[in-house]
Symmetry: C2
Subunit: 192 residues, 2 copies
Amino acid sequence: MKELEERILKDGKCLSADILKVDSFLNHQIDVAFLEKIGQEFERLYHGCGVNKILTIEASGIGIACLTAQQFNVPVVFAKKSKTTNISNDVYTAQVASYTHGNVNTILVSKQYLNSGDRVLIIDDFLAKGCALEGLVSLVQSAGATVVGAGIVIEKAYQGGGDALRNRGIRVESLARIASMDVSKGITFVKD
Amino acid sequence: MKELEERILKDGKCLSADILKVDSFLNHQIDVAFLEKIGQEFERLYHGCGVNKILTIEASGIGIACLTAQQFNVPVVFAKKSKTTNISNDVYTAQVASYTHGNVNTILVSKQYLNSGDRVLIIDDFLAKGCALEGLVSLVQSAGATVVGAGIVIEKAYQGGGDALRNRGIRVESLARIASMDVSKGITFVKD
């Protein structure tokens, strides 16, 4: 998505080889009008795929998911992060490693809100090593529901998580795919 | 808001005198079309007040804030919850007690996204004792910005937090105000 790449180059800040700060429009301050366009693009990509539910994970996925859900006219479910082991048995859970925080979180969703007939589009802001996305796919599969695909705003393609999921047969559509990132050399995108 | 009260009576579950579960439409699964109506109602209430920014707190406020921001055509900023003490000095912080979890969290927002000229509408899903809302008000005031008011989906009026803020001169608009709640007797609302 050309407009997104331009926005990343204009407003994104590469703080290290791993950290791209886009908190002026995506995940701290939210440019809602811009996210509407992102939602429209996800709808264009997954049009006619029978999506009846959007799944994301708290916190920064929620805004993107809501503005995408408007385009599909379907509800959002967001998985919760829990660090407690005291989890009731009416939830699906998955383990997600966080490289940023160096720990493992349990993510969970109430069984009530994921059902075997669901056709789920997974939405998230970032995809790097793919741990969060793997966890969300696992939640959908635990419910016997169908993963239609994933809609990612920014994929750090050089970290390999997206291709690992594609190789498992999961459709992953990323609106911007970063090929390389460097504080001094800047950001380059994967060419289509 | 009549439609909201009806929805709470229909889909809400009172689990104890303190816990109202509305996760089928508000804070786990999100009925996006319904939240659009909530956003429209907040816009009607704060129409002409010069709101140029919506402030909320992760996680469950984000969806409501985004759908409200669409009505005002302004950006959202969401405060982050941090349990670390390692916080950089380019953020405003406030301490928020959590009665649910029995601890105190630091909430924070980047100084970049709250400015002295801002006229801020604070949005959140619940208001009980008012700790989160007090913290958000404090963040806005730290920036020298103006709190236009707060837009709350569900206020547990019997817990007093809303009136404490109103008594300080802060405009608080709650779309449903619960007067009493009981597992066996059910939910009653404050009469207008």
